[in-house]
């Protein structure tokens, strides 16, 4: 299994993601700097969390327009899986690789806490480590995670099984519409989610509920 983590200046959960991929997958991912001309030949490309370019224009907006995104788009078209977590999710929506937008949290405040997630679609390579309807624990840490899509888009992604995770048991921390915490693109080869499964993968984290994502994915692309 081969993976790559793309790093933009200002991302800061790259080390968490690299640690998770390494601990669960057994081999460290390739680390790609945003100015690199290309990405090695891999099965999975991950954009981790943080504050690319300080989130200064809009979360993810500047990174989404950088040249490396053309390479990611190209790879995506060739079937390489793309995962964006937190700022990575924001970058993928800004780049048009995922539907919808992520607005400022309804509370207008940054929020870091543990939430519950319901696995809305377990029939994908990303989520097959879980069962449909399973409720897992997962931490969130973000300021702009309030998912929104227009009614037409929302109906389409709901009908097409593009909702990957929903906040469950009243734990929606940011006002996301339909409690959406993570979405796929139309063919389920790209996933973006706000919560941080990479921060709940070992007993020291107080739980391993985040492992399911990596287990399913790394297994699939091995």
């Amino acid at each position: 299994m081969k993976s790559a983590v793309v790093v933009f200046p200002g991302l800061n959960r790259d080390s968490d993601m690299i640690a998770a991929l390494t601990k669960i997958g057994g081999t460290p991912p390739a680390v790609v700097w945003h100015q690199d001309a290309t990405i090695p030949d891999v099965d999975l490309i991950v954009i981790p969390g943080g504050f690319s370019y300080g989130d200064y224009l809009r979360a993810g907006a500047i990174a989404a327009r950088s040249p490396i995104m053309d390479v990611i788009r190209e790879r995506s078209e060739k079937g390489v899986r793309i995962l964006g977590v937190c700022n990575g999710f924001q970058i993928l929506t800004e780049a048009g690789l995922l539907p919808g937008v992520l607005m400022r949290n309804a509370s207008l405040k940054f929020v870091c806490r543990e939430v519950k997630l319901e696995v809305a679609n377990a029939d994908t390579v990303f989520t097959r480590g879980y069962t449909a309807g399973q409720v897992i624990r997962c931490p969130v840490a973000h300021h702009d995670g309030n998912y929104f899509a227009d009614p037409e888009t929302l109906a389409r992604i709901e009908d097409n099984g593009q909702v990957a995770f929903r906040y469950a048991d009243g734990t929606n921390p940011n006002g996301s519409i339909h409690d959406i915490a993570g979405v796929f693109n139309a063919d389920k080869s790209v996933l973006g989610l706000m919560p941080h499964p990479e921060n709940l993968i070992e007993s020291a984290h107080g739980g391993i509920d985040g492992r399911g994502l990596f287990n399913g994915l790394l297994d699939a692309v091995a």
Binding site: P9, G10, N12, R13, S15, D16, A19, A20, Q35, G50, F51, Y53, G54, D55, Y56, K109, F110, V111, C112, R113, P139, A141, H143, H196, E198, N199, A204, H205
Partner: protein
């Protein structure tokens, strides 16, 4: 406003720079002529209280700063302590009080940025942050706005930078109405053989400017921070700097990358008084002169004068002395991170600090006298009077259950969740205990079982009643909080926040608090390795409560034996280890008296340091042996509050005996020091349990079995049972309700 460099220096101009007439005379004697305008600015920056410690130095010298694990004590950007395996923890705490009152978001944000920079300047990657925040009374008109802004600022910077905030304090008192306290702590991890210092070495070497560009923000900030506030405070807003965590994050990565190349000889971050302070410190410490050419300084505003450039406090900047043959390599790293890199000067052998601009020499000063030989005062002080003890029969009565519910739902003891959920507590993936416990705990990256514990503590009302005992208590409580997780307390940083030292009674508080801190640090073998002094915390002549915040670091050799405060199960005996025969006795300066009876009288509780150490070592032993299942130290609110916190954290209740023949109020709400609540998974009838009690007795420690966990109510003696759910809703309710204006 641009003032030419040859401006006449009037007494008013001198006074506006915060320099006293005798200090100005010292300048004249030193340089034998009238200073230029730039030189006056340089002197005011270097000789103000903030940079020179001129009022406190005499007393700071009395603190214990050495120990077998101490690699670097005070005097550098941060303290460095050996944690074994070739690694060191690098940490410091620093105040950003005045700026945060004027502009809470940016003031707090740049406070966090400054302390992070202090840590990574030494070659350490920041791994944990804490913030000790003190605000005015909740009902004061500015408090809510300040809480909201400061918390957002702390989070805004730390979250974006990418350091977990694992602990801190939030307290309210009317004495901070006009002068809040924002004390920011940061710790980093470094290899012991790759620590970087500010002392320059070698003549004729390039002095390099790195990071963000210089603007006019914060000009005169350090001088402002050394002045009292008056009603014209809002006019000071332009002296507050603006933080850019995105640049700081890039600066961190670029600096660590550069340090790994071996190019760095000396490094100093530009904090208070920016370019002036950093250049002078590097030169003075290395017994070298420094020559700067200001035409090469990257600026973001046109027509900046030398005075402005030298005093700018623009953030996210560094000054380094580099190996000349590595300059190109260094430049490439900074260009990769899209940061400015400019050679702005060189080291010289003449011990002068020379500044050139547009071909002229605008300053030429003796560097040693500016820096490490700045003036020092032995200010007059008077010893504070200790308050009269409370009469033995002076025990204001209230129903124990009512009192507990009221206190747990009050501003002092209620949950700080509203605050810490705005901080990223999990980033880096090493957080083992986030805020809400006795200390924050993070794993040591790269080590299978080692962890570090962090706690920040001080009880200002004790310090006000008795600065000596209060100083001792701040250290002891920090030591105790670290111990309660199972950590060996290693060393501490002190952030001394006081009023105007020119008033002998304030100076007396400072002197006695430092004496108390020193005594506690000596007995507990807990040296002070870094720190910061913030004086003139007054508004219109009324000082804050003396607040010497102690930030401590402890080492946990094996985090699988980390103790937490939550009750771990049903039917576990609860021991009150280190208690006096009556379990609790001391109501003077207690939260019970203050928050339920509006009484601030009586002496501060006494800390018996020898007993403290003995009890702490015993409790740590129980944790390491795996005997203790939950541990919590007692502090504000005494035994009742400690039990309630353990119950709330777990959802498990407890039943605690009535101590016959004693008034329950001091038993449950007294704030006697050196006590821990410890639960064990032993049958109270078992031999092992009795052996444990015997062992405590052999050590001369009273450890009464006071009750047992279980059920869903907390029952304190004969008081009515209180549902843990009710305690939790009181505890969790206060902060969000307050911030929502309810």
């Amino acid at each position: 406003m641009t003032i030419p460099n040859d401006t006449a220096i009037t007494p008013q101009l001198v006074a506006d720079h915060g320099l006293k007439p005798d200090e100005y005379q010292k300048i004249l004697d030193l340089i034998g002529r009238e200073p230029t305008f730039t030189e006056l600015g340089v002197f005011s920056a270097m000789w103000n209280e903030h940079c020179s410690y001129k009022s406190s130095k005499k007393w700071l010298r009395t603190l214990p700063t050495q120990g077998p694990r101490v690699i670097q004590g005070p005097g550098e950007n941060a303290g460095v302590v050996d944690i074994g395996d070739g690694q060191a923890v690098v940490f410091k705490m620093e105040s950003h009080n005045h700026p945060s009152f004027i502009e809470p978001y940016q003031g707090a944000a740049t406070g966090v940025g400054g302390i992070l920079r202090d840590v990574f300047t030494m070659g350490a990657r920041p791994i944990a942050a804490m913030n000790a925040l003190r605000f005015g009374a909740p009902e004061h008109e500015k408090t809510q706005h300040l809480v909201s802004g400061v918390v957002a600022g702390v989070g805004g910077y730390g979250n974006s930078f990418g350091v977990p905030t694992v602990g801190g304090e939030v307290e309210f008192d009317a004495r901070y109405n006009g002068n809040i306290l924002v004390n920011a702590f940061a710790a980093g991890l470094a290899d012991t053989d790759k620590i970087f210092y500010s002392k320059a070495e070698g003549v004729g070497l390039p002095v390099v400017y790195l990071g963000a560009k210089t603007g006019r923000d914060g000009v005169g900030g350090a001088t402002m921070a050394s002045a009292e506030f008056g009603d014209d405070i809002d006019q000071k807003r332009p002296t507050v700097q603006v933080g850019d965590p995105f640049t700081e994050k890039r600066l961190l990565e670029a600096c660590l990358e550069l340090m790994a190349t071996g190019a760095v000889i000396a490094i100093q971050d530009m904090g208070a008084a920016g370019l002036t302070c950093s250049a002078v410190e590097m030169g003075a410490k290395g017994d070298l002169g420094i020559e700067l050419d200001l035409d090469r300084v990257p600026v973001r505003e046109a027509a900046m004068t030398p005075y402005e450039m030298m005093l700018s406090e623009s953030q996210e900047r560094m000054l380094m002395v580099l190996h000349p043959d590595k300059e190109a390599e260094a430049r490439a790293i900074f260009e990769k991170w899209e940061l400015d890199f400019a050679t702005v000067g060189r080291t010289t052998d003449d011990l002068r600090f020379r500044i050139r601009w547009h071909g002229d020499e605008v300053a030429n000063l003796p560097i040693k006298e500016l820096g490490d030989e700045a003036p020092e005062y032995d200010r007059p002080w008077i010893a504070p009077q200790a308050p009269v003890p409370l009469a033995t029969n002076d025990i204001p009565q209230m129903d124990v259950a009512d009192a507990l519910l009221k206190l747990m739902g009050g501003h002092q003891l209620s949950s700080r969740r509203w605050v810490y959920e705005q901080y990223d507590t999990l980033i880096q993936g090493n957080s083992l205990q986030t805020p809400g416990g006795d200390a924050g705990v993070v794993r040591v990256e790269g080590h299978p079982i080692k962890a570090l514990a962090f706690s920040s503590d001080v009880t200002p009302r004790y310090c006000e009643a008795d600065p000596y005992e209060g100083g001792k208590q701040a250290v002891a409580e920090c030591w105790r909080n670290l111990t309660a997780t199972g950590a060996d307390p290693l060393a501490a940083t002190d952030n001394l926040n006081f009023g105007n030292p020119e008033r002998p009674e304030i100076m007396g508080q400072l002197v006695r608090a430092i004496e108390g801190i020193g005594e506690a640090c000596r007995v507990l073998e807990f040296p002070i390795v870094s720190g910061n002094v913030s004086l003139y915390n007054e508004t219109n002549g009324r000082g804050i409560m003396p607040t010497p915040t102690i930030g401590g670091v402890g080492l946990i050799p094996d985090w699988t034996h980390l103790a937490r405060i939550a009750f771990a199960g049903q039917n576990q005996p609860i021991l009150l280890i280190g208690a006096p025969p009556a379990w609790g006795t001391h109501l003077g300066q207690s939260i019970y008296l203050r928050d339920l009876f509006e009484r601030k009288d009586g002496p501060a509780p006494h800390v018996d340091l020898v007993h403290e150490k003995k009890v702490g070592d015993f409790v740590r032993g129980l944790i390491r042996a795996g005997t203790a299942t939950a541990v919590h130290d007692l502090s504000d609110g005494g035994l009742a509050a400690g039990l309630a916190e353990m119950a709330i954290a777990s959802g498990i209740g407890a039943t605690v005996s009535q101590l016959e023949g004693y008034d329950p109020i001091p038993v449950f709400f007294g704030e006697d020091q050196g006590r821990y609540l410890v639960t064990v998974a032993l049958d109270a009838q078992s031999e092992a349990f009795h052996d444990l009690l015997n062992e405590a007795a052999v050590h001369g420690i009273f450890a009464p079995w006071i009750g047992t966990t279980g059920g869903t109510d907390l029952v304190l003696g004969n008081a009515r049972p209180v549902a843990v759910a009710d305690l939790r809703s009181a505890y969790e309710g206060w902060f969000p309700n307050y911030m929502a204006g309810q």
